[in-house]
Each structure stands twice: as structure tokens, then as C-alpha cells.
Amino acid sequence: RADLVEYLLRLGDNSMILGQRLCEWCGHGPVLEEDIALSNVALDLIGQARLIYTHAGEVEGKGQTEDDIAFLRDVFDWKNVHLVEQPNGDFADTMARQFMIDCYNVELFSALTKSTDDQLAAIAAKTLKEVTYHRRHSGEWVIRLGDGTDESHRRIQAAFDRHWIFVEELFESDDLDARITAAGIGPDPKSLRPAWDSMMDRVLSEATLTRPTADFPRSGGRKGEHSEYLGYILADMQFMQRAYPGMDW
């Protein structure tokens, strides 16, 4: 049960932090339609986090609500991968990051629809629809920017180059993953890689982009090791719950 809670946090934290990052775009998008699209994606991600946290709280059985889980943990207790906590950068950075995680999420939640944990399987079924739409949206932008102007090509290529050091971490497995896989709760992260690779290659090629390589991949997010960005994200995100503890909003 502790394993399941931990595993759920890994899932929920990815959605939560990426959703939080996307909130920063609000009102600053390159075109109104994208303001709407980005907040739509953010809304889905935060919705996913809420479902997953609520489930985690119930499995844990200590009465933790979705808000307790989101607002009362400090950096080292967060289990998200490094990719989702990266700054938004320019629109190309945001789209490269998004497409990378969307491709991952489609494979992950697709596998999770067969989870032996019924509740998680149900959440995954709902989430799969959302992330499939996200992938279409970000994928289209990757193609548009890659095969757009010289400037957009340069920017989106640079964005992938910058973010490629975060790829390995997505597919890292540890003991917990082994137990989760054995229990039929979730897939072995490694097993998601071939499909991710082929989707990535297909879209990069259509976008006339070069697949980057990474010398020194980041890792450890799932174990609570994070970049210096996360602390700042949490300082804003948790301010109200920290400054006004235990109140109803």
C-alpha cells in the first residue's frame, strides 16, 4: 500500500508541477487561441493531479486530502521528473517540453488503463483521452515551428536540444517500479521507451528537426532530487496554505 501511494505521487506530481508551470503562461500567450489551449492543458493536468492525489490519500488512509498533498510537502518530498519543473522559456521551450511529456503520458496512461488498481485504471482511461489530445496539440506545434520560418526552426531545435538531458529520467526504473510492475499496477517505465522513440522520431522528422543527444542526463526526481527551480515554484504555490494553515477556501 505504501508502494501504491508512492507510485501515485510520482504520477500526480508530474501533472501537478507541469500544470503549475503552464498557469504561468496565462495572459501571456502568443495568440489568444493558445492562451485558451494552454490553460485547457493546464486544467486537464491539474484535474489529473486532483484525482490521483485524492486516490492516494484514500489508499494511504490517514485522511490526507488532495490539498494536503499538494500544498504541505517541501521540495524533497516531491516525486516529479526534472522535465516538468523546467522554466517555461519561450513558446518553443514550452512546446518541446510539452510534446516530450505528452508522448510519455500517452504511453504511460495507455498502459495504466490495464492497472490492477481499478481506481487508477479508471483515472487512466479518462486521462488517456486528455493526454492524447495534448499530444496532438503539442505535436502540431512542433511541426509548425520546425517547418515554419528559419527563426522558429532554430528556436524549436534549440528547445529540444536543451530539454533532451531530461529524457532518460522518464524511463528510469527502480525497486519500486519493479514491485509496481510485478503487482500489475503500472508498466515498467523502460517498456514505454520504444513507442515514445518512434513517435518522437516521426514528429521530429516531419518537423525537419534533428533528434538531439544528451551527454549528462538528469535523474533522481522520482526519489525527491530536484533542480533549484522547484523550491521557487512551491514558494508561490503553497503560500496561502502555509500562511493561513488549516482554513477553508
Binding site: G27, E33, S39, D90, L145, M240, M247
Partner: protein, 324 residues
Amino acid sequence: MSDQAHLSPEDESGAARFQALLDREEKIEPRDWMPDRYRKLLVRQISQHAHSEVVGMLPEGNWLTRAPTLKRKAVLLAKIQDEAGHALYLYSACETLGTSREETIEALLDGRAKYSSIFNYPVPTWADVGAIGWLVDGAAIVNQVMLCRCSYGPYARAMERICKEESFHQRQGYEIMIKLAQGTPAQKKLAQDALNRWWWPSLMMFGPHDSESTHGNQSTEWKIKRRSNDDLRQHFIDMTVPQAEFLGLTVPDPDLKWNEDRGHYDFGPINWDEFKAVLKGGGPVGRERMAARRAAHDDGAWVREAAIAHAEKRKARQHAAAAE
């Protein structure tokens, strides 16, 4: 020189039809003849309204990353998303009058067009998010309900869609206020402070007194505006004061009291100097708002260009493929 002075015979029949439509309370549609000034007045008003939706995303957007619960964060996101949607409807309504979205946005960015100066007040606390929903959206609805009966069809129809969502926003804002008002002393203080700051600016949203309004008359004749500023303001006050009482909050107006004879609330004098200063000087955070919009526009230029370039490439390829 009035519009009537140089009408061609064709225009004359158009003008007659235009007046007939107005008289019969039917809608003017994009392809109908309409006086130039009617068109200009509408473009001015609708684009100002559209810009207000866009700029209005910023003050609340401020609190997306800091909303106190996940539910509130999600609701606020959905609300701001709606506002962007409203702006799209309204830019479309402008386009039916022959003004492209690009032109309209240019006018905002170079300072020719205005937006509601209510968004030039800062939003320093979470309670402000509640107060904006309750009071600012509340005032907007009073205006918009009237505009659903406006003589120009596309604008009236856009307003109908917008009103539905807006009343949902107003309810959400009020719900935030209820939570605060029923909460701890710290929360109640947040709520009261926000009411203190937003009350008078909300009243100013209805514009100057009827006696001083510049566009009022023509707008009323053409059935764009169907109730006067003072009338709408009174309606808003009558509606809102009981809500404040229900919350147990004090409206920051010592002169406010129910007038049995009038069947309305009497209220104190509005500080029009502040109104004018905010209109003129951009208010406490007007500069920041415009800087944010300009930066979004400038930083996004390469994205918009890329989208166009890609669409053209794609079209050319389809063409080439079809030609083979």
C-alpha cells in the same frame, strides 16, 4: 454635418430600412446598410469590451499559481479561459463590422483603444479574486444583460453567450467571498479589505453620470445602449448591497441607506476625480498591464509568423501534389 446630409439614393433606402429595423426592434445584421457612425460607435465599444476581456486575464492570472486550493485553482483557470473565449467572440463581432482582429489589437497596443480601467487596480490578495468575481463581474453582467437586447445582431448574440458564462463567474466569485466571510478573523479581514478597495471602482464601471456622458444619447437612439449609466449603477447597487449584508461585510459608504420612497438605495458621491485620473493615467497598475500585453504580443510575433509560414508551405505542397 450629419450622416443624412450626403446619402446616395441607395443609401437613402438603406437608411430607411435601418430605421425601420430599429423601430421594429429587429436586429441589424452585418450585410445591412448602417450609418458610418453607428458602425464606428460599435467598433469602439465592442473592441473596448474585447480588450477588457484580454487585459482582464492578467489581474486574476496573477493568482493562478497561488490559488489556495486545487479546486479554486481549477475554477479560476476555467474562468480565465472563458474570458479569452469571450474576447474571441467579441473580436469576431468586430470583424463583422469590417475591422480585423489585427487592427483592433494594434489599436490597443499603441494606446488608441481603451479597455475597462477597472483592470488597472492591483490584485494583491486572494480575496481580490473573490471581489472581482462578485463585484466586477457582477457589474459587467448588469451591463451585458442590457446589451443582449442591443440592436446589432452579432454583438447581441455574443452577449447572450457571454452572459451565461459570466453569471457563473459571478457566482464563483461570490462563493469565494462566502468562504472568507464565514472563515477565520484573518479571512474576514481579507474579505472586508477587498470589498473596501473594489466597491467604488465597481460603481465607476458604469461610467459618468448621465448628465456628463458623451456617447450616451446617440447610443440610446440607436438602441445600442438601452438603459442609462445611472440607471444601471442603481440597479447594481440595489442588487449587491443585500449580498454584502448576507456576507456580514460593510459597504464602505457611510451614506448608503435604503430609501423607502424611491424603492432604491441612496449612496454617497462618487470620486470622479479618481475615475478621471485612472482613465487618464492608467491607474495604479495600468502601465504594468499594457507592458504585459505588449510583451506577449512582441514575444509571440515569431510564433504567429511561423504558423503562417507553415500553413503556406503546407498549402503549396498540397497544390504541388494535386498538380502531379
